[in-house]
Symmetry: C2
Subunit: 112 residues, 2 copies
DNA sequence: TCAACGTATGATAATATATTCATGTGAGAA
DNA sequence: TTCTCACATGAATATATTATCATACGTTGA
């Protein structure tokens, strides 16, 4: 990729000024994509009430374990949840408060 | 749909307590899905600097008009943007501040 | 060591989504 | 009117995504 003094510099015809911003927007889309699925949102919401293992999440959402694990993996790679092993179980929890905040903002938009 | 004193009442085995919440989560997923696409995020961001017509947006994003129009339609049906006609042109703008807030929250998560 | 439990993962099939192409529609100018 | 510009839209194609199935992995207890 080219550096900041080339076609994508501050004087670019594009209003999306530089690569950094473009990349950020791309990352943002990736992030919101993770929130943009019912199963994943339900998992996140399920974890609002505290950490849970995979089996519990499956029970709460009434979905099979494989589907849940696949989605947990996605959520984790987006750093929205954390996990730790406890014996045979994996305990999942929300990574930070951003998750709650972002969901709250979304709710506000919907509820107006 | 059933009322709150049936299988989905407060004592449900589900932790996602009632239908209302399930529906809300579903709506939330729908909303975030709209943010979860590079083209749409770039359109929104493009409108941060003020209202624009379709041709301007196409130029800014370097994308063809049909693709942009299709995405504008989606953004509008999610009530994230508004439009008004001005002669031959359609002028698009952000619907409200939630858009900026939600994107700002997403940014915060990414930047930590 | 082996069996069983809890979880992860690869492959597949079904479905959803985005872009393009062709064309249609509304508004103003000639 | 008719032409042209700005935009919208339906259909088709390409690509991405999700759930399921089968199976593999890691841990504990027998």
């Amino acid at each position: 990729m080219e550096d900041r003094n080339t076609a994508y510099g501050a004087k670019s015809v594009h209003h999306l000024v530089d690569n950094t911003t473009e990349d950020e927007l791309s990352d943002l889309a990736e992030l919101f994509k993770v929130f943009g699925d019912s199963t994943r949102i339900r998992i996140l919401y399920d974890l609002f009430s505290g950490e849970k293992n995979v089996t519990e999440i499956c029970a709460d959402l009434e979905m099979n374990q494989s589907a849940i694990s696949h989605q947990l993996k996605l959520l984790k790679s987006a750093r929205l949840i954390r996990s730790r092993r406890e014996g045979k179980q994996m305990i999942y929890s929300l990574a930070d408060d951003h998750v709650k905040t972002i969901i709250a903002m979304g709710k506000e938009h919907i509820e107006e």
